[in-house]
């Protein structure tokens, strides 16, 4: 049937995306996922980790049916463009400078309208980035207090069945989140997830994972995919029709 997307075409598009060429809108539709990097305080995300955003989208496109746009996109917190899509990734390793009033208002509007923000600490051992971001977000959403997500949260089963969050580093077994209206809107990762996805310009992974192994990187990618599917489908996998299947599979995996 003409006009229907075929798998070959999708893979071809994905390959094109690695060259940072946007896919045609006619193939993606208007609601495609894009991993946008958030910029505050005039600090523009750069370096090797920035390549992880496009890789994130590529992995989602390769593994799932979700349409993605595999372009490197940076959006400032004080820009109206922040509201163009409901997802942004805030990555860093050092403490951030205090947010300006415009940035604070921009972030508040983004979150109050239902946007999802992933805070990814590239240097979780120091934790300076995480602490500073938490302090700033506490002023943006004064009523919202981060809470630890339960092990059975839908984030751990939105596409893959995963036991815990993993990034470039193993990090803590649980993640904190700001939950509003039943939805985890801000995820605080201390796993350098973007680091696990970062690519060398010439190809190959840019950063080694710790403690290491292909399995860890695979789990990191899976967790990134799960975040995307949670963003797009919210608690879909908590629906009753899925419960029996997922329980059975978890039981088999543990055996």
């Amino acid at each position: 049937m003409s006009g229907r997307p075929d798998p070959g075409r999708r893979l071809a598009l994905a390959a094109l995306a690695t060259l940072a060429l946007p896919a045609p809108a006619s193939a993606q539709g208007s609601g495609a996922f894009q991993c946008r990097l958030l910029s505050t305080g005039g600090i523009r995300p750069s370096g090797v980790r920035a390549s992880g955003a496009a890789r994130w989208a590529w992995e989602v496109s390769r593994r799932t049916s979700a349409p993605t746009r595999m372009v490197r996109s940076v959006v400032r917190a004080d820009q109206r463009a922040l509201l163009a899509e409901p997802f942004a990734l805030w990555s860093g390793s050092d403490a951030i400078p205090p947010l300006t009033g415009a940035e604070r208002r921009g972030l508040e509007r983004f979150l109050r309208m239902g946007g999802m923000l992933v805070v990814d600490d590239s240097a979780p051992a120091e934790g300076a980035f995480s602490r500073s971001v938490r302090a700033e977000l506490a002023q943006v959403l004064s009523e919202a207090v981060p809470v630890q997500l339960e092990p059975n949260h839908v984030l751990y089963k939105s596409f893959y069945i995963v036991e815990r969050p993993v990034g470039r580093v193993a990090g803590p077994e649980r993640i904190d989140a700001i939950v509003r209206g039943g939805t985890a809107q801000v995820l605080f990762l201390q796993h350098d997830l973007l680091g696990a996805l970062a690519r060398e310009p010439a190809g190959g992974w840019a950063l080694d994972v710790t403690p290491g192994g292909a399995r860890q990187r695979q789990l990191a990618i899976r967790f990134a995919v799960n975040i995307t599917l949670y963003l797009l489908c919210s608690d879909y996998k908590d629906d009753q029709v899925h419960a029996k299947w997922i329980l059975q599979r978890r039981a088999r995996a543990r055996r």
């Binding site: 049937m1 003409s2 006009g3 229907r4 997307p5 075929d6 798998p7 070959g8 999708r10 893979l11 045609p24 809108a25 006619s26 193939a27 993606q28 539709g29 208007s30 609601g31 495609a32 996922f33 390769r62 593994r63 799932t64 049916s65 979700a66 349409p67 109206r80 463009a81 509201l83 163009a84 899509e85 409901p86 509007r109 309208m113 239902g114 946007g115 089963k157 939105s158 596409f159 893959y160 069945i161 695979q218 990618i221 899976r222 599917l229 963003l231 797009l232 489908c233 919210s234 608690d235 879909y236 996998k237 629906d239 029709v241 899925h242 299947w245 997922i246 599979r249 088999r252 995996a253």
Partner: protein, 734 residues
């Protein structure tokens, strides 16, 4: 003829008290006289005579009698003839109807009572109304379904006009009150306050041979998708009702009725009750037919079936949301549906396509197979609406179920086809069975999806319909550009386009972007874009706190599910719809809507040509539209006001309805009633033999003349007393 009556009376200026006192004094006098007569043995006769004379003279002096002359005349008695005016009396009785027999009997009474002054009233559900025995008969739809004599009698008691000397009730006796089963106490209570005889004329002595659906009762409320009990009482008189098949069916537009339940009534003692468990899948007014297979000998086929419009409530909206892939548009719609407590949603999203490589074992995935066959066969009727969002019908094996999905819509389901690269022409829908229920054509087009942003234009229908009203009030008509559109064909006949593409054309019209359409009993919406999430999240949406998305979908889902808030008009039957009688429908336009109303009335049956009428309705005002005589059956009326989508209203027209459900006569009640009030009960043929009440006397002139001046009475009393005194002395009394 006038007569003169002459009589005597005390003077008019004496009060009753004075007369009483005078009488007591005289009685005391007589008592003393009796004592004296015992005390003496002499001249007792003279003593008694003089004493009595003195007493009479004293009384005359006190009362001063006058002569009263009255000129009187005789007038015919006032009588009230109450004729049963219920629709039940239209039941056939031989070559005529019971009503014909009742009117003949009433005429006979009026004719036989030539000297009487009759007032003929028709009694039914409320206060009796004057009835002309020779006038044109009233339409059946104007007649009340039952006859309440108790109310008529109560109205008579409260009437300040001249009291009647007799009441004549003409009926078959099957009254709502007092009921034929009423006990004596209840009967007396109904007749209380009537101090004149009630004569009754029995229109029917014997019940006709008849099997009927006597009563249909829902045990509890009818709620969509939920089983409820329907209690059907079958009545049987004079026919063999050992096993009467009963069928319960739902009438549907454009198709054969759907059988909901069947059973057998086994009558004993003249009736049988059968209980059915039925499920009505669609909310709103649904017309249910309860019919029995009449045994041989049934003389009244008009009450062998009942047509009952059931207002089916919905506890929650059961929705199937199927998406071809997870996108921001899917995210926004799911979030909105989840936020609505009244929505019971079952969702299936395709998260992995055949070409995807998740790089994991199946057990590491939280994915389940898409149960397309199960969903779109067994479970489909259980949903109120289906949303197919950016869904490829071929790749996900839905194509084989599109015929069933089309039938689901035609049988009352709702469908929204939401755009995206895999929807419409991009999803294998061109030429499919689903096309016939969609409001737009879906031709093969390449490319099927247009990714050039454009701001959709609001059409005249879009401005007129309540579906978009709140969105347009919030956003204005200048909508923000939408990033992509599905390419679709022209709107189907009868469909309404609310939004169209600003530059893409289909023939001479703009390409539909949002279109609504009806398909027999169901409704369908085509939304040829995957961009409505932008009304909830985006730079422009931030200006309205993202409320636009919810307002749009509230309108779309509300219209799909016939929420009155989103209907362009409300429609109702004026009075009762009686088969064969002219029917009238009342149309009220929604606030803000006025203009020409097009009313289409269509039988709930296959391939029936609709009746179409036009009128003009002003905003907030009602217009009544005559749709002519309709035969017995279920009907759907669709009222379009101006360019707005039509509002739908289902109703039933019955030949007899409740009024004919119980055809039995109750002559016994009429006899008991006559007996209790001192009247007579006769058959219709004997109506002329009822005893006419006596004529009433009316005084035209009255004159009073004293028999003698007062001093004469005083003088006579003094003389009589003196004479009695003398007689007493002679008798030796002191």
């Amino acid at each position: 003829m006038s007569l003169i009556d002459i009589g005597w009376a005390p003077d008019d200026d004496l009060s009753p008290l004075v007369v009483l006192v005078a009488a007591l004094v005289i009685l005391g006098w007589c008592a003393l006289l009796a004592v004296e007569l015992r005390r003496t043995a002499r001249a007792r006769l003279a003593l008694a005579a003089s004493g009595a004379l003195a007493a009479v003279a004293l009384l005359a002096a006190a009362l001063r009698p006058v002569e009263v002359r009255e000129r009187t005349s005789r007038v015919g008695p006032r009588v009230l003839v109450l004729v049963d005016g219920s629709r039940r009396l239209l039941l056939p009785s031989g070559a005529a109807t019971r009503r014909d027999r009742a009117l003949t009997a009433a005429r006979a009474v009026v004719g036989a009572w030539g000297g009487a002054r009759p007032r003929v009233l028709s009694f039914g559900a409320g206060t009796p109304a004057p009835l002309s025995l020779d006038g044109a008969p009233r339409a059946a739809s104007e007649l009340p379904p039952e006859s309440d004599l108790a109310v008529a009698i109560a109205a008579m008691r409260g009437d300040p006009a001249e009291r009647p000397a007799a009441v004549v009730v003409v009926s078959d006796g099957r009254l709502a009150a007092p009921a034929p089963e009423a006990g004596e106490e209840e009967l007396r209570a109904a007749l209380r306050g009537v101090d004149v005889p009630i004569h009754t004329v029995r229109v029917l002595e014997q019940s006709p041979a008849d099997a009927s659906v006597r009563r249909v009762r829902a045990v509890g409320a009818a709620v969509a998708h939920q089983r409820f009990a329907l209690e059907v009482q079958v009545g049987c008189v004079g026919v063999d009702c050992a096993a009467v098949p009963v069928t319960v069916r739902e009438l549907r537009a454009g198709s054969e009725p759907s059988v909901l339940a069947t059973g057998v009534a086994r009558a004993s003692g003249g009736s049988a009750t059968v209980q059915f468990d039925v499920v009505l899948e669609r909310a709103g007014v649904r017309v249910v037919e309860v019919a029995l297979e009449a045994p041989s000998g049934d003389t009244i086929p008009g009450n062998d079936r009942r047509l009952i419009p059931f207002a089916v409530a919905r506890d929650r909206l059961r929705l199937l949301h199927v998406a071809g892939r997870p996108t921001y548009d899917v995210r926004a719609l799911r979030a909105w549906l989840e936020a609505d407590e009244s929505v019971d949603m079952v969702a299936f999203f395709i998260l992995r396509e055949t070409g995807d490589d998740p790089d994991a074992e199946d057990d590491e995935l939280a994915l389940i197979p898409f149960p397309v066959d199960e969903l779109f066969t067994d479970h489909l009727p259980g949903f109120d609406a289906v949303i197919l969002q950016d869904f490829d019908a071929v790749e996900y094996r839905l194509a084989r179920h599109l015929e069933g999905l089309a039938r689901y819509v035609e049988q009352g389901g709702g469908l929204i086809l939401v755009g995206g690269p895999s929807a419409f022409a991009g999803g294998g829908y061109p030429g499919s069975a689903l096309e016939r229920v969609l409001p737009v054509a879906v031709p093969e087009l390449e490319p099927p999806y247009d990714g050039v942003p454009a701001a959709p234009l609001v059409t005249a229908s879009g401005r007129a319909t309540p579906v978009l009203r709140r969105l347009l009030e919030l956003e204005g008509e200048a909508l923000a550009p939408w990033p992509g559109f599905n390419r679709v064909g022209a709107a189907r006949p009868g469909a309404l386009v609310l939004l169209e593409h600003p530059t893409q054309r289909v023939g001479t019209e703009g390409m539909p972007v949002l279109a609504l359409g009806e398909a027999r009993d169901g409704r369908a919406i085509a939304l040829a874009s995957d961009a409505t999430h932008g009304l909830g999240f985006g730079e422009r949406a931030a200006e309205s706190a993202g409320r636009g998305h919810g307002l749009l979908w509230d309108g779309l889902l509300g219209w799909l599910m016939r929420d009155p808030r989103f209907e362009a008009a409300s429609v109702a039957v004026v009075g009762d719809c009686v088969a064969g009688e002219p029917a009238r429908l009342r149309v009220v336009g929604a606030p803000g809507l006025s203009g020409e109303v097009t009313l289409r009335v269509e039988r709930l049956a296959p391939d029936r040509a609709p009746v179409e009428r036009r009128a003009v309705v002003r905003e907030g005002a009602a217009v009544e539209i005559d749709v002519g005589a309709l035969e017995a059956g279920g009907y759907t009326a669709r009222a379009s006001v101006g360019a707005a989508p039509p509002a739908r209203f289902d109703f039933a027209c019955e030949l007899g309805g409740d009024a004919w459900a119980d055809s039995r006569a109750a002559p016994d009640l009429l006899e008991r009633m006559a007996r209790a009030s001192g009247g007579r009960s006769v058959t219709a043929a004997e109506a002329a033999t009822l005893p006419e009440p006596a004529a009433q006397r009316v005084t035209a002139e009255r004159s009073v003349r004293p028999l003698a001046p007062p001093w004469v009475w005083a003088l006579l009393a003094a003389a009589a007393l003196g004479a009695h005194h003398v007689v007493r002395r002679r008798a030796g009394l002191a």
